[in-house]
Chain length 249, copies 2
Amino acid sequence: MTQNVYDHEEFFAAYSQMDRSLHGLAGAPEWPTLLAMLPSLDGQRVLDLGCGFGWFCRWAREQGAAAVTGIDVSERMLERARVDTDDPAIQYVREDLEHAQLPRGAFDLAYSSLALHYIDDLGRLLAEVRQALVPGGALVASVEHPLLLGPRRPGWNVDDDGNTSWLVDGYLDEGIRDAPWLGRRVIKHHRTIETYARLLREAGLTLTDLREWGVTDAWLRERPDQEHERERPYFLLFRATTSELEVSA
Amino acid sequence: MTQNVYDHEEFFAAYSQMDRSLHGLAGAPEWPTLLAMLPSLDGQRVLDLGCGFGWFCRWAREQGAAAVTGIDVSERMLERARVDTDDPAIQYVREDLEHAQLPRGAFDLAYSSLALHYIDDLGRLLAEVRQALVPGGALVASVEHPLLLGPRRPGWNVDDDGNTSWLVDGYLDEGIRDAPWLGRRVIKHHRTIETYARLLREAGLTLTDLREWGVTDAWLRERPDQEHERERPYFLLFRATTSELEVSA
């Protein structure tokens, strides 16, 4: 089973204080970019892989989604998600994405925010997503950028002139990275962009959009001590679609 | 016009001594990976963007290509290419890819090895390539990986334990990089992977394969002092195709 750090009491308490936990989508600086990659949700059946507190599920319904299913492994997060809605068209399911079975042709859109880098067998999950989507359906997802997650000895180097560089090693050496985050060692899986592209292709999904998100001027204005964040991409966002051709298959 | 460093006498002499100049495709360590991304060339009409000495053009004919057009801005390189073949099905054209006009629907495959990062207006060139390809045609290309080309202050950092990291800054800050190479300042254009993906999409090409090539064990066995090269990807390789659907359009 996937490490479920979110149900650890102190981690959960710390995570609950993050901007994206307190303010939802508006608290996630990459959200405007993800939003631009999403299709219209009006009348759509939506799946959220790693839904957490359910912010996206509720937002999708506000956009006219016909039905939304949110899946998460964290009981604590789903408890709060259920408290925050009484919408019968939103269904929350506790399941480990590492092993989840998804219904065939049941969704127009699959969405996943910062969850896929926790998955060991991502190829299996993407194949599940692929068969759960209707022809012409799409997956829109974000993960930590491999430049951020990949280094075995992550850190900043400041030269004699005060110029800051991000230290990159082990980019091509894929596998587990277990860095401390919010007081816990959190297990993530480093994959190159090549591997994300290959796993999507092998699952029968066509990569139609790829973004390397970096911090914005607005984000930096409130965090002037984080100027070095300009030097690297932070999140990798992508959209992949099933072929329209299968409509007639 | 694009900087034409290859026609500078000393640069040309130094470039001519590189493995890939002396030994052609076999001297390029990324060649086996590019080869695996190529379709069968039997009977195909092939375009080589930045053909240099014409190694790929001659190889394509050996594979059964019906006709091959090689384009390059370097007169010196084309002179030698013309000396090396008397095959009437290979045509060498001296043209600056920055401004080249390509015939409509004339090619099944466009190929480009380490040339596209010299182009300023890559969107224009990709649109030309797109319309020069038949429906179902493909572009297979390699460029310097943006992690290699992007840093404004490239270099290696060695920590107190002897661990080596590649210094990355300015990854998201696209534009000209003019680093010394073979004794000349060579002007290249740094683009993120996001931008390559976007330019292909905007040109009407679908990204169907993406590789982040890093040095191989075989390459390192002959260069034991280059172990640090394991820490970063070196070339970005991609394949993009026009839609098959247009056959009936």
